[in-house]
Amino acid sequence: MTEINPYLPEPATILETIQETPTIKTFRVRLDDPAKMRSFSFQPGQVGQLSVFGAGEATFVINSSPTRLDHLQFSVMRAGEVTSRLHGLAAGDKVGVRAPLGNHFPYEAMKGRDIVFIGGGIGMAPLRTLLLFMLDNRADYGKISLLYGARSPVDMAFKADLPDWTARSDMTTVLTIDREAEGWEHTVGLIPNVLLEMAPSPDNAVAVTCGPPIMIKFTLQALKRLGFGDEQIYTTLEKRMKCGVGLCGRCNIGAKYVCVDGPVFSYAQLRELPNEL
């Protein structure tokens, strides 16, 4: 049978792990089949299912950029069974990958516009892929600004990226933590408050935000105050998923399945969905 088996993961090898924070670990993986790795492609915002054989699968955004395809990067916050087992893995260990799954950021429609990234905690992961993609296609976009916040300096992930992001002249980067901490040279304050101070213009702009629900709630309010319309704001949703291909029936919000219709939604789209986040 030549039919595609959507449940069959591709064996892959962990090339490198990075302990980002006490609870977040990044995995760089490569598909074992060189031909499949060569032909692999995805769009920024799409997700993948990572298998730890014996523990099962869980869904993570591919947070590397499709413009840099020597590996796929996933950042995993330790929370449940699969993520705990993933955290126990090291370079050379085997995983399974089912990717790409889901929809992606409408990066074509965003061309020519200013982009405001607002990420909180692990919510920076889905933003990273789009940010890297846009930096690699820099001419296509207007002003790019990034507001990335975490509870404390130790909770800041993607530390390897931060020097570049803060140093670049073709983007504005603001890093913030919730409370003063020794040695912290950047901003202090909650993301929504810092955002209001940054006051990005909504004119011809798009905001892309991801983070914990409470941050999203207040960030959305702040964006509204700044004049951003619902159709100018994008986020990615998370749900418990199993199949990742719209069949198993648990990630739906009304008739929309986060695994195939998402994870990326504009706030205009979310407003149309029943309230069951």
Partner: protein, 357 residues
């Protein structure tokens, strides 16, 4: 379409034995006080005088099935290095489901739209579905919990079946629904139906007429969305629900599943199992957040999925075949018909009230 045939009742066992030579034949059989579909062995006659507790859904969608196997292989040169080999498991045997009611066979039409859609084909489902034939028994009289006619079906609906049997005096009128059914009828045990065919039609018509008038549930899709945020409504209609999974597992159209690994030594299996949207853990996220934290939220999703979300995605078709098992076998008699009608009434009242404002 070939002419109808007649199978005298005493030859039923023989016909099933004959089919058993070529197919795995699943037939309704007594187990304790209940009736379930089980492989026909010839030791006992199939039970046709009452409905099976379970629909025949295991025939195409087993409670547990193996999706794949994996094996860890140690590198002999470097025992710290372990490779993983993954292989898909796909087993499907030629099967005949005998003696399901039209509703039970028709349940798979709801599956087909999901598991064999233009967007995706589930190879496990597709393989079994292609190899499973249905010899269905028309209903002569409706049961108290039956409501197939609410959802566009009827007691002799042959959609989803390959052969339709109608019980007549001393036997069955056998009608092929499609070519695959015709092939199955190629047996010396069957004889021409003659005038019995007309008799079968009479019985079918009488069964359809015996059903009480069906209410109009065309508004269910929009009404369920209209009352979505009315949690007081959902708390009221779910108050007596004990949040078990009987309704989902007994349902011929419920297809939600879980996937998990069973690990043993250096190898293991990835299994798909039936899952149950009435369970707290169904949507529980690793963070501890649960978008459907109470049985009210969960029952809302179950009813909403069947009568609103699914129809929105599949051209108005509801994900319910009206078999009534969820009503009849619920330990506390939660009645999905009542809930759908209550939602329609509630939405209509809200509409009226807002029109008056």
């Amino acid at each position: 379409m070939s002419a109808a045939a007649y199978l005298p009742a005493p030859r039923l066992g023989e016909w099933l034995k004959e089919l058993s030579g070529r197919y795995l034949v699943l037939a309704p059989q007594a187990r304790g006080d209940t009736v379930v579909f089980a492989p026909f062995t010839g030791d006992a006659e199939p039970v046709l005088d009452r409905d099976a507790a379970m629909p025949p859904k295991q025939a195409v969608f087993p409670a547990t099935e193996e999706l794949l196997r994996y094996r860890r292989v140690k590198d002999p040169e470097d025992p710290g290095k372990v490779d993983v080999e993954v292989s898909a498991s796909l087993r499907a045997v030629e099967t005949v489901v005998f003696g399901a009611k039209p509703c039970g066979a028709r349940g798979f039409l709801a599956y087909d739209r999901v598991f064999r859609s233009p967007a995706i084909s589930d190879p496990y489902y597709a393989a079994r579905r292609a190899k499973t034939l249905f010899i269905t028994m028309a209903c002569a009289a409706p049961g108290n919990s039956c409501f197939c006619h609410w959802v566009g079906s009827g007691p002799s609906d042959s959609s989803g079946s390959d052969i339709l049997l109608t019980p007549v005096a001393d036997g069955f009128v056998v009608q092929a629904v499609n070519e695959r059914g015709e092939e199955l009828m190629n047996s010396p045990l069957l004889e021409p139906a003659g005038t019995r065919e007309a008799k079968a039609r009479e019985i079918q018509d009488a069964a359809a007429k015996a059903l009480p008038a069906a209410p109009d549930i065309s508004r269910a899709k929009d009404s369920l969305m209209a009352v979505f945020e009315d949690l007081a409504f959902w708390e009221e209609v779910s108050a007596k629900c004990i949040s078990c999974g009987a309704c989902t597992y007994l349902c011929p159209t419920c297809y939600c599943f879980d996937i998990g690994d069973e690990d043993k030594g250096m190898s293991g299996r990835r299994l798909r199992t039936w899952d149950n949207c009435m369970s707290f853990r169904f949507t529980l996220e690793a963070s501890g957040h649960n978008p459907r934290p109470t049985k009210a939220h969960r029952l809302r999703n179950r009813v909403g999925h069947k009568f609103s979300y699914y129809p929105a995605l599949h051209g108005g078709a509801v994900a319910c075949c009206g078999c009534g098992r969820c009503v009849r076998l619920c330990p506390v008699s939660v009645d999905i018909r009542e809930i759908v009608l209550a939602a329609i009434a509630r939405a209509a009242r809200v509409r009226e009230e807002s029109a008056h404002d």
